[in-house]
Symmetry: C2
Subunit: 203 residues, 2 copies
């Protein structure tokens, strides 16, 4: 999280920094971004950056915060609407993200965000995704909202495995969505993947 100092900055200056950061995070994958480019773009002194943020990671996480919060609320709603249907909720999330990325004209930026959310979350990961946003549904709060009555799930352990699988295919589908020209193709494939997971590949 940014420092108090950053928060107290005039809106205009904050925006200039955030804008420069967005440009840099859009330009190349996270590992290749540089603080140098951000401070030059924002026209602030190098030292100032460190007065506001502890690192690139810190800044990016802050920039993602609103989206994460909105997504959390969205998930909560959807799970209630669908009476705990996890597949339906995941599809809604997928649509929510793709639609939002499109609307905001920040396609490339969102593409990078999805890429940055590494599958390998461990201590060595460059971009340390905070626990509560590593994947939707890994939150205790949401897990309790899921209806498992018509699923082949015996215990909490099983549920986590299913969530993990859903997370993997959703992330993959999102990556493909940004990769393919056609939005339709990625969505069609995603639906197929969900179908396989629900009903199985075997005849």
């Amino acid at each position: 999280m940014p420092t108090e100092t950053f928060m107290k900055l005039p809106e205009e200056k904050k925006n200039k920094i955030l804008q420069a950061a967005k440009e840099e995070f859009t330009r190349v994958p996270f590992e290749q971004t540089s603080i140098k480019n951000i401070v030059e773009g924002a026209e602030i002194a190098r030292g100032s950056f460190y007065q506001y943020f502890t690192s690139k990671e810190d800044l990016l996480q802050y920039m993602m915060k609103d989206d994460i919060d909105n997504l959390d609320n969205f998930i909560r709603e959807k799970l209630q609407e669908s009476k705990g249907d996890i597949f339906e909720a995941y599809l809604a999330i997928y649509d929510y993200i793709t639609k939002k990325a499109w609307k905001d004209k920040d396609l490339q930026f969102y593409k990078r965000l999805i890429e940055n959310a590494k599958v390998v979350e461990d201590e060595s990961s460059i971009l340390r995704i905070p626990k509560d946003i590593k994947g939707p549904f890994h939150k205790e709060e949401f897990i309790r909202l899921i209806d498992t009555s018509n699923l082949q799930i015996q215990n909490e352990e099983d549920l986590h495995i299913v969530i993990q699988m859903l997370y993997l295919i959703t992330r993959k589908a999102l990556v493909n969505n940004f990769k393919y020209q056609s939005t339709e193709k990625a969505r069609k494939e995603y639906l197929k993947m969900i179908d396989y997971l629900k009903n199985g590949v075997l005849k």
Copy 2:
């Protein structure tokens, strides 16, 4: 691939370079490794490195080549043995890799390799995994060996989706295998994931 010059080097010198490289690639995730450390470890001049390899990526890919080739042969065998059962073959691959990593006492090194094999393979990926090793089974040769008669697969497209899903969960299971203390836990989870994919999560 390395240059002719590197290939002609005395075995001893080559090994020293490869050994130093292995240490560096074991130490930290790929993005954080440095050529500096490798040349210092191998006691060669900085310029020499560039006489042998074009980049870190080049070197790492060369180091992986044997393993990839062995794996290819192993897959071919397994697919024939199992008469085209893709699930059985994938499980065999999983066991092959985990066993090999354990035997070679290169656990940490293999852990890094699996991490490096990004799910996001595109032009912006730092470690450009060559097409033929991006995931087992994506090769045409293998796809033809798969028996789809008792699978709910209508066309080539569907098969690719199933392969993609199997690849995702296998990679995840491998990551977990290196992450958890217990090898058993990761394998158990993997079996469960395969089971869900085969028979579905719905009751």
